[in-house]
Amino acid sequence: MPDPDRHDEFMSLFLEFQPRIRAYVRTLIPRQADAEDVFQETAAVLWRKFDQFESGTHFDRWAFRTAYHQARAFRTKKSRDRLQFHDEVLDLLAERAAEQSETLEEKQSALQICVRKLPTSDRDLLAHRYEDGATNRSVAHLLGKSESAISRNLNRIYERLLKCVNLTLRLS
């Protein structure tokens, strides 16, 4: 375990790259709860092995390697679970996710702008859906709609956001 005095240094790096690491893990692990577990395990391993991290080098790349191994290890643990990506697919996604991660902060800013451009009802739906603990079902219950209507609407919103973000990034 690293010296507790290095904790501030670790926290500072971890917080800075946390969005990239989360997005990376979420891309590799299809099931939400599993992705949470792998993310938390990755965080714990990153701290435990922090002594191996060379200050000044790329924290995110080091974190991705750890996350990748955690994802692979997770897969081995639950080998009979069919809701996981096969190794070949995992590798393809890992490579692409690491590359795309470079522009995560720009995407985040663009996403902000694009969400604001959505009609009020769409923004409301996103707000409800992304509240802590919410699911399509709970949002459906809350808004008096069917679950499938919620998922269709979300998909439509996502398509719109994807187009908008791509455009925003190209124009900036």
């Binding site: 917080l15 969005p19 979420r26 709860a33 996710a97 902000q112 802590d132 998909n155």
Partner: protein, 507 residues
Amino acid sequence: MEKTLTELCGKVRDDSISPEELHQLEALIQANPEARDYYVHFMTFHALLEDLPPVREEGESNASPRVTFLPVWAALAGVGVATMILSFLLVHRSDDQTPTVATLLFSEDCRWKSPQAPEEGQRLREGRLELKQGIAVLRSDSGAEVILSGPTQLDLVSASHAKLHFGEVVVRAEQGAEGFTVGTPASDMVDLGTEFAVRVERSGTTELHVHDGEVVCRDQILTAGQAVRFPKARSEPEPLDVAAPRFAELVGYANPQPREDLRFAYEGFHYPAGILPLSESDTGKGWNGPWRLRLSEERQRPDEEPTPDHLRIVSGQMNVTWPVRGGQLGMLELPGNCFYVRGLDRPLDLAQDDVFFFSLMVKETERFETPAKPQEAVRLTFRDSRSYFGPAISFGHGPLYEPRVQSGRGVLFTSPFVLPPEQTTLWIGKILSSRQGEDEVFFRIYGEQDELDFAEPRTWHVTTRHLRLDSRIDRVILSSTGKSVRIVDELRIGPSWRSVAPMKTEP
């Protein structure tokens, strides 16, 4: 039926994908680089939206709430990131900026949202607690006690305000602790004393059950025996029969037991009555040697040593009214002037964030009418062998038999309480050590009539201020001055209340 790529991605996002559909998605990802990119973009968006969700702003009136997206660079305000930070802080306690607002009194078989793992006796900071499973009890600094039944997510907003996002809590606020507020999707619930339960489902359905006293909910006062349900956050309340468990019932269900197994050190003086040479006083647990006299470097006056070179063991001299296991098998008689030292195997490191408790039974055999010289006193002292006369902590009483804590730099903390004369008493102390902030020491002396509860008390006789110690305690000294004889027994040192206190338990 063939699903489109978007539909498949949506199903992963919503956790509704079947193995066959996942297989379809895998095929697309393997065959098609654009599909691969699309999937990565899609899941990245999902992760970004989770990290910094669009936030609904409540309007003042019936106007529809505006939705704003929390600014990216105000990341610390974002729900997702804030949760991570707060979780870390709750575990690592390295940030002394965030105020502490409560103490965790009890938890067992609890599963918290990783990496949280708060321990009994630990202080809790403002922030989010997420209990996945189990029952935990905390006491807010405003005096209200809150039981959480997992799965429950509760934000500690301040000493008198918590927000229940989902789960179930029972709040008990005795006199003086009124005003504790539990925020819910449907309404704030304000306790006017004394006991109520709140249940919130993830859909926003909220229930309030009032067991005792009164609770204010949406500007109405509900009284004992009343309960309401809000099917949705904005619904009107529907009356219900009270059906939630009571605070005491949940505690009974959790059935807190003593945790002797967690003790660091124990000395019950389980020796036969009579004279025991010091070299043979080597039983107990957690010590690195028998009891001994002070070394010359441990004495203020190196040439004087009034302590006899043996322990005098007696039995049956105490009136033990608490459930002290082993409390009757031999106890130590301390003559007028003595200092006995014993070394701890596991030092107590006050330079780290940690919690320590100790307990000791003490009986005064004689109390003199007028204060005498030398002063009558019995003391338990914790010292650091690296710096023997440096900062230490001692527990005892002053000339007027008031409970007293002394820190090695000579600072005294006392209480206006007067110890009952010639009674058997139970001393309990708590040391909350902090790496960066202030250390806190608490001391209370219980009398024969007192019962010890399943968790630490709300009030102590002595509490310290402005103490910053970084000693590494590895020596314990039992000492006595004056003419009268004292009996001591059952010295216990451990990480929690339950590891040292002879608490009352359900039969």
